[in-house]
Symmetry: D5
């Protein structure tokens, strides 16, 4: 079993909580799947929490503190603020895995827009009232596929 870890020298701009959490994760050898189960949230949401891209509720902080045996006060001090999102990825992304997602937007951006406009009218799919998950599929030939689902509220442009 392999674990996602954090090398701070490669991510100097992440919040302090990222360091605290990733160190605890490495020490406990816990996967995001295990943590997600333990605190009752989606895997991607947990990873986003670790990278400072999502808000932790008081219950999340409590659960993480217990699960990792981190002093509650410290974790609360580090995680109670509002996330300063968007600082983890430099655009265009250099990491090949993240670049492929970027490339999908680059190649299919207007195709998505055209199809969604016809399906929903003039508006956008929210990235805020939004959830996402990653699933694994193995087809009948034994080939592994990754499936990402993006689900966002449809927000029509206001007429004014």
């Amino acid at each position: 079993m392999s674990l996602a870890t954090l090398d701070v020298s490669q991510h100097p701009n992440l919040p302090k909580s990222s360091v605290t959490l990733f160190e605890a994760k490495a020490k406990k050898k816990a996967t995001f799947e295990a943590i997600a189960k333990a605190i009752g949230r989606e895997e991607v949401a947990v990873a986003a929490l670790f990278y400072g891209q999502a808000t932790a509720s008081p219950e999340d902080i409590q659960a993480l503190s217990e699960y990792f045996d981190i002093d509650h006060e410290i974790l609360e001090a580090q995680m109670s603020g509002f996330p300063d999102r968007g600082k983890s990825v430099e655009m265009p992304p250099k990491e090949p895995l993240i670049y492929r997602l970027y490339e999908i937007v680059q190649n299919y951006g207007y195709a998505y827009k055209a199809v969604m406009n016809e399906k929903f009218g003039d508006g956008i799919m929210s990235a805020i009232a939004f959830s996402t998950k990653v699933e694994k599929e193995v087809d009948k030939d034994g080939v592994t596929w990754a499936k990402i689902t993006l689900r966002g509220k449809w927000l029509p442009f206001t007429r004014f």
Copy 2:
């Protein structure tokens, strides 16, 4: 019913086939959904075809030519080459709908990487051996949600 159209003065770099196809689409007042049904492909794939982001098979060209009543030879000349992908969207995208997708990559990029690495090992989700679709969901409160599914082959890094 509203239709996605193309204003060439806003997309000077698209291939000639885009102009031909969008004009035919406007004239016939055909939605991507209808075209997709007619030629047996996914809606997003059809829209990608219209923006020059996907390859048309000889059958697609035949079907489009018939569906829109476009001279087969002209369409074949314009669509037989290999797509020069990535030219339709300027990055970072300025279009709000496309920006939201970009923002999802910017915010959740490392979260996806961390979760996928733990789930699949070291590798990437292919954007080539890849398909995608858009669906509409209305929840019990009558709220409309857009759901995008990205499905790509998992490609492990080769050891050498």
Copy 3:
């Protein structure tokens, strides 16, 4: 009375409808205020329509066609699609008036975020479910002030 006009050689990427509308406006010597009154929309929304940044409803197209005496079919063909937003302004903006708005975001961005997070929780002010207007105020010393109001729906981040 001065009128905002469009010099196409300075805005090569605008949609065809922009040319049609601005020419009609110049010919009729109509202000945005007058047009707004005539078609029952906000002034900024009308100007946004002229720059291809907002959707025209069938009623808008009808009203504009009548007001400016433009052939309805032509205007409908040019305005029925979905706006391809964000192409009119190059960022950072070089135009001094627009730069001042950009500068406000640059200087007060985190201040707005901090205040809004405390007031509303974790989320964003929507730029989609959104309206805006410009007003003129003359204070008691005879000094003229411009007042811009931005009003957007508060969208809390979804917990997942």
Copy 4:
């Protein structure tokens, strides 16, 4: 009640006063609303002060020093200089909340210019002789709206 906080590792370029003030704020668990009331300034102005984007008058320094019980001499040394504005936000902004404001400028920039030029003549709305505030509105359907008001002196271009 949630509080806006500062994680220095995410904002390495802010002035020393930002660190002093945000630490005191976290310790006292004071909202910007409370601080604004205590020192007699607008909420956004206070947040701007905290991010080093606004000048503190001697009275402000005195009031902040008393309110937070910070040594007056230290605060005076850190806050007496002239703000070095514009360093807190990287453009284009990656933070979703700030990006939405940026997007408003990107989409409606020329619409604002056109409307203001017709209303006021050739000039700009000052971002210096300027004030701003954030308000909360709940409409009859219980939906929350954020309202930002920008008010700047109108500066006509000098003829020379």
Copy 5:
């Protein structure tokens, strides 16, 4: 006597009035000095007018129309709008003469800020309520010096 001229293929984004005016200027072999004298404005202001960077008053249009014997209606149509400023120079400027001005800002920017803050307090020198001129000086050794004067209203930051 040499004349500043315009080669449209090098400035595709200038307004139509630029073409009209520069052609008339070349035909009449008129210097900016002569035009300035004829229409009663500063030389730099006249050149700015030619590049679409300044507003022409009805009197200016009248005077230019007479001076160059251009049809008044045409000139009025081309020059009555509000200037779309900032499009003539690409930044950083590649033209050596313009680069030197840019370099002065790059090298002495903070020195100007420091001196002006101490002299005037917290604020800016307006670039709107602003005038400028160029003068020629020959010193006692026969060396020629160019002198540019920038004069702008001092705008103090509003306290709010």
Copy 6:
């Protein structure tokens, strides 16, 4: 009386002498005007020296050392090298005061070029054989104006 100060965390790339000099300035509460008088140089030149943008002569170092009572050897070691100019301002400048100067270049760049070419021939105004100063003017209505003078040697292009 307000003083321009330096917050190192906002200017990590300035030379060591900047830190030494600004600390001494803050301690002695000396304005650039006072320092300029004391060492016999122009105000802007002194500020440029403080930001590492100008060369200090041995006499300057001696005078500054005496005026601020700094150990001569330390100051000499820090200030004897050749300035590494251009590092203090990030372009485009984000600081509003400096941006206004940048905007003047952006808007009037070609106007200056056109006027200077006609006045002086083909060449540039030197930014090296160059001096500059800032002056304060109060007009008859009590309005304060800032006046910046740029004076550079005219350098004609060599014919070869």
Copy 7:
């Protein structure tokens, strides 16, 4: 014999393992060729490992730990995570050797695409299911040639 070494002050973003490995390499005076032989991998793969651009298997870590006599636990902690690729080279590359490779892509990019499309159809050569090596050739005139081989799986675009 010369050795490739690492100067951390020039590569502040590399992972901790890079420092550990390059220090051990310098101490042992081991070439990549020697290391490659010792651990049974290709030279370029080994160098990529040292720069944090490739995954180390448990066997690699074991072998490196033994070969360099590094504490196994430390190396395991530093090397077990998933590589955060793409951070070592800034694009466009400034290093002349790396720039030449970049230039090959810049000059022959479309030539490769055209030839590969004709040879393989619509798709890409994978950079993931991929291996590469460097060889030395001395021709009959005694001239030295470097030969780089890139070998990647052909991935056809999925039809959907």
Copy 8:
């Protein structure tokens, strides 16, 4: 059989010869492989010629003129100059196939440098005294691999 073609609206900056050659190629339905065989050059070199990235010798022009039955004088006029290389690909490349090559440089750049420096000393692999080819390999499992070979003269840095 599929053919690489050229859509001029997507490549406005290519030389006139590109248009002439690609049109002739489409008309004759000739692959690069066939053309290469006919004129005695490598496939990639031929494609580079078509994109204006390589020099045509008088013999090449003669051969191409005969092979495609193009007027020799026209082809000579269009192809005799020196190539203006590097204009066909925009960097970073948006085309997925070309991006993968770019990514290889981004990920393995320093690995190549380290290995080559140890193998050859301080220098570079020339991209001028250089040749390249693309080959197809099918492994024992029937999987297709693309193999690109880059072969450049080793140029040691001159000591001076």
Copy 9:
């Protein structure tokens, strides 16, 4: 004998005179060396003239008009203005030959500065009061070397 030519589709921003001159040069099959001899200027200066990067004196225009048998009036109209320099090369240059010069600046920039500062004091080598030439050298081994000489007036920084 090969000739440098101009393909306008690759240089859309050059002045009209470039087209006139390069066409005449191609027609007459004249090298820059021959033209330089004919009009009495340096080869690089002549090429710079052809690319609109240098001023033509009335004598140059006369000589070019005669040499190429171009109507004098046309050439005078196209060449009498002041050059709008810097538009021919996009930076960083993509053309390999021009990139090598850029790389020399990138690699040796500070070395030049250090050596020149010690040799000449604080100042710059002018690029205006400047001349340059290219020479060919064949060493005793028959190897060809290109030698570029840059000669500029030394301009010391003014003390003010």
Copy 10:
């Protein structure tokens, strides 16, 4: 006599050897001219060595160690690797002296290419098999000129 020195806070990315060497240089008050004479290399090459842009031979290291009385082992450890070139100058350069060299490439780039292509054929002047020097010339009027010579091997493009 003035000396070029290094302020590390302005050059955080230089190798450790730069710090060692510049400190020794400042202590010994040695000019590059003196060092060049002492170790038998060109002045610019020595300065390039100090900035980590050139390789030191074992003899250079020995000579520098003796000349500056630096521990040989330390210098060897810091200087034996292969230079990581191109990191000292940020492009476009902000330093006025270096910018002038950049401007020469920007203005005369295509003129050099045209002249060199005609003189040497299709190829480049190498920046690797390359040497350069700076000389001082005082003309008969007592004016000082700086002369830079660039001498590189001519590399013809390989035909393949």
